[in-house]
């Protein structure tokens, strides 16, 4: 028997040692699955409790033993949470807050996509004096903690008479952000420079190359920037807390905190319904853009 045939023979009828190895492997896989399933239950549990509490009548929220799934879903809790105390002074206009938040999100998404694309294009594909130095400075600014900037930025916006308006929350988005510039620059650099050269030979201006060559090829990266900017604005709490004074201008996060501090403690079902309303749009957005999202975060970890 030749060596080759021996090999083939080995493959077709594995020796006991091989078998036990395969068995060991199956045990390993089963253990990993078991761990993953247990951890999944732990991680998913708060969501389950959020939603079931939101669907319970108030007396079932605090029942002992706990009611896992309410007998009848109280869908009207969501309506109540939005219009809670609508007839009283402490009324929390959730729909207005949702509208405010959406307006802010649209303004910041538009601004951050437009400005960061321009700036990243410059850092990625144009040569100019001081570029590399300024890019290094840009990266370094990511280390500056927001609290250091809080007072002077507030003073600046106060000087402009912007306190109590949305402007402090969206205008800066139109001037770029270090993280998005970095993310887009990394992406722009992967587009072959020959494409730009060819367009240049055809007499295209930098603006045309940017608009007609680079941007169309960068849709996924631009979408990631839009997505992160949307989520960042939707989730922001400290910004609205500092700059918004009038209750009518509150965002959802600020409104929810306000709601909680006013009614906190008792109507847990309504509180959970309100929280669900704030969380849901982000989760839905995630499910529609999952792949982009995960790629976007993976890029974050790159040097």
């Amino acid at each position: 028997m030749s060596a080759l045939a021996k090999d083939i023979d080995l493959e077709s009828s594995p020796e006991p040692a091989f078998q036990s190895h395969a068995k060991q492997n199956r045990v390993r896989v089963a253990l990993i699955h078991l761990t993953l399933i247990l951890l999944s239950i732990v991680f998913a549990f708060p969501f389950l409790w959020l939603v079931t509490t939101a669907l319970k009548p108030i007396d079932q929220t605090m029942a002992v033993p706990p009611v896992w799934i309410p007998r009848e879903f109280q869908w009207e809790n969501f309506g109540k949470a939005i219009t809670y105390n609508a007839d009283k002074l402490g009324y929390i206009p959730f729909l207005l807050y949702a509208r405010n938040t959406l307006v802010l999100c649209i303004m910041t998404v538009a601004g951050s996509v437009a400005s960061n694309a321009l700036v990243a294009y410059s850092f990625a594909r144009l040569r100019w004096k001081g570029r590399d130095f300024l890019f290094a400075v840009t990266l370094a600014t990511m280390m500056v903690p927001f609290p250091v900037l809080m007072v002077p930025t507030f003073a600046l916006f106060r000087e402009l008479d912007w306190i109590g308006t949305f402007r402090p929350l969206w205008v800066p988005a139109w001037f770029g952000s270090a993280f998005s510039i970095f993310l887009l620059r990394q992406f722009f650099r992967t587009i072959p420079f020959e494409l730009s050269e060819a367009a240049k030979i055809d007499g295209a201006s930098e603006w045309r190359i940017f608009r007609d060559v680079v941007l169309p090829l960068s849709k996924p990266a631009l979408a990631v920037v839009a997505l992160f900017s949307f989520i960042g604005t939707w989730n922001d709490f400290l910004g609205p807390l500092i700059y918004l004074l009038d209750q009518k201008t509150f965002t959802l996060s600020l409104g929810l905190q306000f709601y909680q501090s006013q009614h906190g403690g008792t109507p847990w079902n309504l509180l959970m319904a309100a929280s669900t309303i704030v969380i849901l749009p982000v989760i839905i957005l995630f499910f529609f853009t999952q792949r982009l999202f995960i790629q976007g975060i993976a890029i974050t970890g790159l040097k």
Partner: protein, 292 residues
Amino acid sequence: MKRSKEGLAGYLFAAPWLIGMSVFLLYPLASSIYYSFCDYSVLKPPVWVGMENYRELFQDEVFWKAAGNTAMYAVMALPIGMATAMGLAMLLNSKVRGMTVYRTIFFLPSLVPMVSLAVLWLWLLNGEHGIVNELLKHGGIKGPNWLGDPAWSKPALMLTGIWGVGNSMLIYLASLQDVPTSLLEAAQLDGANAWQKTRNVTIPMISPVILFNLVMGIIGTLQVFAVPYVMFPGGSPARSTYFYAMYLFDNAFRYNKMGYASAMGWIMFLVILTLTFISLRLSDKHVHYGGS
């Protein structure tokens, strides 16, 4: 000629950021140094007081309390958070079926807006009716008073943090997937077991990402604000959750001590710079950068 045209275009394209960085970052950064040496209430122009704010800070008990709380929280929460994120990423990377489903489940909590997260955990950890203590009771454990006991408020906060590790988990996962299988196979052929492979191949290969997550973790943890602000009004119980950024915020916007708050901001920035520098230095020997 061509080169200078490109240069001009370069400045024009970069203009929004050059303006934005100057106006919203560098100018505030510089003026906050100035304010930190001033008595400043925003309502009146700043008045120079020299080192007074810093001197006062070092004798301010609340400052030390907040700084101590923050340091203690960081020391507890950072290693546990990083270990959880990496552990989950390694499990997900073990090439079993259904990985995307598990990944989604572990990741989703990190999308929850901070205020909603705080409100949700207030309910989960509620002393009387909280489901966490109810479940512990089933296991024969008397659950602590998470929200009312100064000894348990920080661990409560840590739980919310662990629940939200999805983001750094994904960063670890991406880097784990980049570890060349050939290296792991070579180690296997040399008779390395799973632990040795992790210890001697995987961890060195992903060490730059560990360092990145560590630095980002330090920067983030020292600024912790929204979740404790909502969960523990005023840093209750017994100021055990009164963190640095909360005291800074209160000084700036409640007590109108803007100069004092700026001094706090600069101390925070210097601490972050120092810790980052130390992390980079300590990691010099341990972090492995592949290729160039």
